[in-house]
């Protein structure tokens, strides 16, 4: 099995996961310290999903993200400095400080935006796939990430039906983390696997271990291949768990902290990566992982420094970017 993944790919994936983890730890700390305003949702524990999927994409493929978007943004290749500056509301941020955590986007790397509206991305990704395939005449693929909660929005149905009817190159990546805010998944849905719904659209629906970046990568690579070949959409359900509160600062009155901690220890995707890549496949050593962790820790220190040193937007510029014509 070892030959399946190059060392380069493994390193790239570990680095991305570690970068996300460090990014989120940094944001969490600063948010709790009152340095970051607004609402922030972190991706800790779910890093393998964004990483595995984006590793299977080209730079010019497009992704639609969620309210929990930092991980997707890092995985697609955004610069963590510019991301951090955005989250701190600085003019140097990816969105010039206009967006913040919940609207982080980097069009240069095909990251079309986090979204404050749960389920807001389904149709955008599908429309982008339509445009690319039919009118812009390229073979780009769209991916939409979405939660278990988002899967109950009507937009899920409208987008996936259109994508399947028209055989569009879009991949529906479900981050099945068992919670929608305070609400356990099974209280809002009658099926164990959300991907059972794929059958109703006659598209492939697969379930993967979302904590294992290799498994996610494999499923994504296959879906990307199908999409590029014109064989239409795929539904990938990644089983994961929301380790942190829904938002940073969530008192989590609705669940047991011990149980969450236990799940974290058992399913941490970085830990699992080390077991797979180092112990089982031998394509990377644990020391190499440690080095990447250190590298990422430094990156984040610099990112924070960059953000803090960056200027605030000029308040008078509040009307900039409302319209493009003018």
């Amino acid at each position: 099995m070892a030959a399946k993944y190059t060392k380069e790919l493994a390193q790239e994936m570990y680095k991305k996961m570690s970068l996300i983890r460090h990014f989120e730890e940094s944001v969490k700390r600063d948010f709790l310290a009152g340095e970051i305003p607004g609402f922030t949702h972190v991706y800790i524990g779910e890093e393998a999903i964004a990483t595995g999927v984006c590793a299977a994409l080209r730079d010019d493929d497009l992704i639609e993200s969620t309210h929990r978007g930092h991980g997707h943004c890092v995985a697609k290749g955004a610069d963590v400095k510019l991301m951090m500056a955005e989250i701190f509301g600085r003019e140097t941020g990816l969105c010039k400080g206009r967006g913040g955590s919940m609207h982080i986007a980097d069009f240069n790397v095909g990251m079309l935006g986090a979204n404050g509206i749960v389920g807001g991305g389904f149709n955008l990704a599908t429309g982008a796939a339509l445009a690319n395939k039919e009118y812009l005449k390229n073979d780009r693929v769209s991916v939409v990430f979405f939660g278990d909660g988002a899967s109950n929005r009507g937009t899920f149905h409208e987008a996936i039906n259109a994508a399947s009817a028209w055989n569009l190159p879009v991949i529906f990546v479900n981050e099945m983390n068992c919670w929608a805010s305070t609400t356990p998944y099974r209280t809002t849905c009658n099926t164990e696997d959300i991907s059972d719904r794929a059958y109703g659209y006659h598209i492939p629906g697969v379930v993967v271990d979302g904590q294992n970046v290799f498994e996610v990568y494999d499923a994504a690579a296959e879906a990307v291949e199908r999409a590029r070949k014109g064989e239409g959409p795929t539904f990938i359900e990644c089983k994961t768990y929301r380790i942190e509160g829904h938002f940073v600062g969530d008192p989590q009155l609705y669940r047991d902290a011990k149980e969450t901690q236990k799940i974290y220890e058992e399913t941490d995707p970085l830990k699992i990566f080390r077991e797979k890549a180092a112990d089982e496949m031998g394509i990377m050593t644990r020391e190499e992982c440690d080095e990447l962790d250190e590298f990422c820790a430094k990156e984040l220190e610099e990112a924070k420094k960059f953000a803090m040193d960056s200027p605030w937007p000029d308040a008078e510029g509040y009307m900039k970017y409302v319209y493009a014509d003018e």
Binding site: F39, R98, S181, T188, W312, Y318, M319
Partner: protein, 324 residues
């Protein structure tokens, strides 16, 4: 007098009404297990087991299902989580909730309350900061309220629940934790939907607002007072149908009209009220009407913009002084 928060006031209203009528139930996201995203439903699910429902993230079901439940004979209270999400179920609001009674020639009634936490919070950014009450003022068949303090929150919510018509109850996110003096329960007076409240009498200028806008209006009035200008401050309370008489009478007395709200100025509630004043009381005006609202942009995230997108009392004062 006793002191409670705005949140507690809505809880008292809910509890009193739910005790009276078993067919009242509540649905929305994150209400039962955490007591609502702003704690405004806290404790209700223990007091009324099975009557506070955490729904899927399916707002067309929350509102459309509420309408269906009302048609069947229940009295649902449904929650919008953030008023920003209301577009997701806009059709259920304006083509179903607002119209079924009329279209069916009075066969139906829709005793439904839609609670909608709205407004800016620091860093809320474009999709979690909106005030969209003006849309609903333009829709016949619904009533729209937006209380500004705890006592009103309680009495207005009770009136909304008791009403046989659909009511959208806008509750501003920054008001929830704020503490207000309220009367003892035995001294409470029922609120009559559609009535405005003169919160401060004055003789020189009428300032109309609602929801958190009232705080801005009062602050401006206090500053004006120091400059020798006596402002009458009116809380609209009900945005639709609104209390034309109270406002026109005040303008006829003060001869100057000002309205302010947190929502975008263009096409806002203030436009309707100012236009009505210009239509029905222009001869009493000694100065142009004045409107204050947010500039015509989505709400930016960065704290750098915090002040610039909010109506500032000193800005109001400066412009009001020019009326004299």
């Amino acid at each position: 007098m006793r002191e409670i928060t705005f949140s507690q006031a809505t809880l008292e209203a809910m509890e009193e009404e739910m005790l009276k009528d078993d067919t009242i139930f509540v649905m929305g996201e994150d209400l039962a297990r955490q007591g609502g995203i702003f704690g405004q439903f806290k404790g209700l699910s223990d007091k009324f087991p099975g009557r506070i429902l955490d729904t899927p993230i399916s707002e067309t079901f929350i509102v459309g299902g509420g309408v269906g439940a009302a048609l069947a004979g229940a009295r649902p209270v449904v929650d919008m989580h953030f008023a920003d999400f209301i577009g997701v179920c806009m059709d259920e609001i304006y083509n179903q909730m607002a119209k079924v009674r009329y279209m069916f020639g009075g066969q139906a009634k829709v005793p439904l309350v839609l609670r909608a936490p709205d407004g800016m919070v620091v860093g809320g950014a474009a999709q979690h900061s909106q005030c969209n009450e003006a849309w609903f003022m333009h829709i016949p068949g619904i009533k729209v309220v937006a209380p500004s303090d705890a006592y009103k929150a309680k009495m207005v919510l009770k009136a909304a629940i008791e009403s046989d018509d659909p009511v959208i109850f806008f509750e501003h996110k920054v008001l929830y934790p704020a503490t207000f003096e309220v009367p003892e329960k035995e001294d409470e007076k029922p609120y009559v939907l559609g009535t405005a409240d003169i919160v401060k009498e004055g003789t020189d200028v009428t300032i109309v607002s609602y929801s958190v806008g009232l705080k801005t209006a009062r602050a401006a009035a206090d500053m004006l007072e120091k400059e020798g200008i006596s402002a009458e401050v009116i809380d609209l309370v009900t945005i639709s149908p609104w209390d034309k008489e109270t406002i026109l009478n005040s303008v006829k007395k003060t001869h100057r009209f000002v309205v302010c709200h947190e929502a975008v100025k263009q096409g806002g509630v203030g436009a309707e009220i100012a236009a009505t004043v210009a239509e029905e009381a222009i001869d009493y005006l000694d100065a142009p009407t004045l409107r204050f609202g947010a500039p015509f942009c989505p709400i930016p995230f960065s704290s750098a913009f915090d002040q610039i997108v909010r109506v500032q009392p000193d800005d109001m004062v400066a412009k009001i002084k020019e009326m004299f």
